[in-house]
Symmetry: C2
Subunit: 392 residues, 2 copies
């Protein structure tokens, strides 16, 4: 057995995540490993928690990075809030709502799902009706559906959930760092994210935050959390207890990377970062529309960091994605679930949300579409994007 | 909020893990991130599986790295093998056996524990009696108890487990890469490890392997695995299925690091690596004994990579570990459970198992013990270790 050292091709990551990672974050990943109880590492954990609170816009004490990827964050939130028999309402309008319902059922929840076609979002009345019918302990919704590119408004729904005495759990995997996520102002009780989307850190950690109401619910549990690894009653003592008691060995270098990625986010500032994501989205949109490409999501609910668009009639999905990857080093995402083969997911997340990537992508896509025999006005995509930038 | 970039102090990691990481592995961690479905990453996964099979000494097809630290590997093995009501026998002779029983109970297992004082191991008759009493589906034992420094012989026990129709689950977190772990020859059905011990990769992944008998048991499940994140029926399709279907976003850069760490292990070769761990252990032992320090484990069951020793009478545990860390940059481990305050755990794992570290540590410990008022022959530790090296 004689394998070559790791030497990945240089990609531009414009899919649904992971996104491009800045060299400063990669360098932090390569800092010398220290022990998981080293005073230096405990300080890095403290600072990471403080920065996560800012990014989540929360004062929640229980805010930390779960030692797994985004789906581990989802599971951590659910298994800590749900005891067998607890009632939960889950909104499914994409793959990740479906995953949330699956995780909740495995945790023993009595789940009522409400559904919307992929690409749509829920209106508060639908959620209100489900709450009335099911009296759930927890309502779970996806803020930014990574599988469809749709953004779910949450403020009004949050009021309804709390008026009925429930807890609101929100998937912020793709939204955090790219659009406003206002945990405290919106009264969200539990939220999880991933490092590899708009925070532009490699995948491997899941930021989570729990409100004091959520912590009270966890403290009132009658049964142990089904997952030892994700049991917040122990994990939180390691992250912020008096004793900093050993629970599991944290992924040290991943946490170094997240620390540096959060530093970069806060250096830029959340408002500037959100504005950048929006500006590049609008330019990409202008360019795509000039190439005759349509969005799969209604304008008012579109995610700026994840553009789900319809594949033009007669164009071979895999062939175009393959050419983008092989000839231009650009990764975009395929459709998932009922959108497979019908949509592309074009990410402009974190470090990848740049003018450079927008223009390059439009040029490369034009090349691929011409190759596929589409009739398009040469240069129209880039021209429209540049116009959009001029107008901003 | 204005935190400094990550710039860890340079430690020598001689505790119970993480161990020192080679620069080549740190460099691989910092390779540019690619997508989790990128053909290049799929190849890295294939190669990692092949190398893990060699390190585990197995042909098991289902051999991969779980996207979490060692305890996630433990949980992955248990939740996939156990359905609610299944019977399990767990041997507890340290913290990690206790953790295994806790995880199994959370998974709904009817657990019979057998216990031995910390530092001791089980003899086959005890396990046979428990099997007879409980007729377990799974017997779980810890090969190398990281909390006590004891090595559990497994071959005879494996025969007993299989004669009774059970499956043998083994914790190889600390043993893998440091002493022989012969999954196929010993007929082990499921095993998990961590990256941060004798493989000398940063923490963040958990190598696991399952025999065909274990896979049959998983395929015959009547209930879904309690953990979505760790459900091998889906994870294995991502790692080695025909479709390489997306399950979760793998920690890309962690896997780059593991790939390089495994390359280093196989370049050295397992027999040479095991011999190196033994040689440095014997030299350290000679040096410690010359300083009047005793082991907490009987000679025949001592782990070469984790030396659990009794803290000399009258010596302040925390003060000595603090001085080693602050003045010499050396991390050693505290005792856990009933050994807390009574033992130190001195690791010689992977990259940290070197002559240099043995001699440095003995010199630094002598310094600390003199400071603590112990009467020792100056230079005796280093002299004894060098003698031991000469004799080898």
């Amino acid at each position: 057995m004689n394998y070559s050292p790791v030497q990945p091709p240089r990609r531009i990551l414009m899919g649904p995540g992971p996104s491009d990672v800045a060299p400063r974050v990669l360098a932090a990943m390569a800092a010398p490993t220290v022990g998981h109880l080293d005073p230096y590492f405990l300080r890095i954990m403290d600072e990471t928690q403080a920065m996560l609170r800012t990014v989540f816009q929360t004062e929640n004490r229980l805010t930390l990075a779960v030692s797994g990827t985004g789906s581990a964050g989802m599971e951590a939130c659910i298994v800590n809030l749900i005891e067998p028999g607890d009632r939960m309402v889950v909104g499914i309008n994409g793959v990740f709502g479906g995953r949330m319902a699956d995780v909740a059922r495995r945790a023993g929840a009595d789940v009522l799902t409400i559904e919307r076609p992929f690409g749509e979002v829920f209106d508060p009345q639908e959620v209100a009706a489900a709450i009335k019918a099911h009296s759930p302990k927890v309502v779970g919704l996806v803020h930014a559906e990574t599988s469809t590119g749709a953004l779910q408004p949450l403020e009004e729904i949050s009021e309804l959930v709390h008026a009925a005495g429930g807890l609101l759990l929100v998937d912020c995997v793709t939204s955090l760092g790219g659009v406003p996520v206002e945990i405290d102002r919106w009264n969200i009780d539990a939220a999880y994210s991933g490092t590899q989307k708009c925070l532009s850190c490699p995948p491997g950690l899941a930021p989570v935050t729990f409100s004091s109401r959520a912590v009270e619910a966890m403290d009132a549990r009658k049964t142990k959390v089904a997952s030892w690894y994700l049991d917040m009653s122990m994990v939180r003592n390691y992250w912020s207890g008096q004793s900093r008691a050993y629970h599991h060995t944290a992924p040290i270098n991943m946490n170094f990377g997240l620390h540096e990625a959060l530093r970069a986010v806060l250096e830029e500032g959340l408002p500037a970062r959100h504005a950048r994501h929006l500006a590049n989205h609008l330019a990409l949109r202008a360019g795509l529309e000039a190439l005759g490409i349509e969005y799969a999501v209604a304008e008012e609910y579109r995610l700026p960091m994840l553009n789900a668009v319809r594949i033009p009639e007669g164009v071979d999905d895999k062939a175009v994605r393959g050419r983008l990857l092989q000839e231009f080093g650009i990764e975009i995402g395929a459709g998932l679930g009922p959108m497979a083969g019908k949509t592309w997911r074009i990410g402009l997340m974190g470090e990848a949300s740049t003018k450079r990537n927008v223009l390059l992508f439009l040029g490369a896509l034009e090349n691929c579409l011409q190759q596929a025999g589409c009739s398009i006005v040469p240069g129209a995509g880039v021209a429209a994007a540049n116009n959009a930038y001029q107008d901003q």
